[in-house]
């Protein structure tokens, strides 16, 4: 996944310019079909099974 604008900001930089981060968030959410930053893309998939030696 290629770095996106905003991902390179450090936390300190982001805290100093929250309006820029918010603007990016709004812009990205308007891009239909585009990947959206700040959102989990995929629900994790939990699973469980016995160890191989016990199957």
């Amino acid at each position: 996944m290629a770095p996106r604008e905003g991902q390179e900001l450090t936390l300190a930089q982001a805290l100093q310019q929250p309006e820029d981060v918010e603007r990016l968030e709004r812009i990205e959410h308007k891009l239909e079909g585009a990947e959206r930053p700040y959102e989990r893309l995929d629900e994790p998939r939990p699973n469980a099974e016995p160890p191989e030696k016990d199957r």
């Binding site: 996944m1 390179e8 981060v21 939990p46 469980a48 016995p50 016990d54």
Partner: protein
Amino acid sequence: MAFANISAVRTADPTNAGVAKDSFMSTDPFAIVLDVQVDSSVVTSGLLADVTWQIVNPRQDPNSHAWWTYDGGVISCPTVDTDWIGMPFNWGPVFWVFCWWSQYAEAVSHIQGPDARAGVFYVQGTISIQGSSLFAKSDQFWFKVRP
């Protein structure tokens, strides 16, 4: 006396959960695996458990490595947590339980910062058995991700 124990934790390829893998590309499939042992009385009792897996970025310096996200504002986000609430004990007293993503990058898709997709991190987990005093925690397992 009843017990619960996490004997090991590791990162792995989800198709090979029994084998530890400690280096990933951010596009690689990614799983966090906990090896769990519980007393057989827990299995037969029909109790449920809550499982939590964590990816942890131990570097908190806001001027360099810290992870952050946006949730109506910029907030620090040093861990990515995944839960399975109400897991049944369908696999006997010895089993492994894991969560997985088709790419590591998907696990941290909401994370921002210079180290969002690359660095050295660790995973850990807990299991808490509902309606009892039983719980277990794992050790830490370190791994590396490249972009």
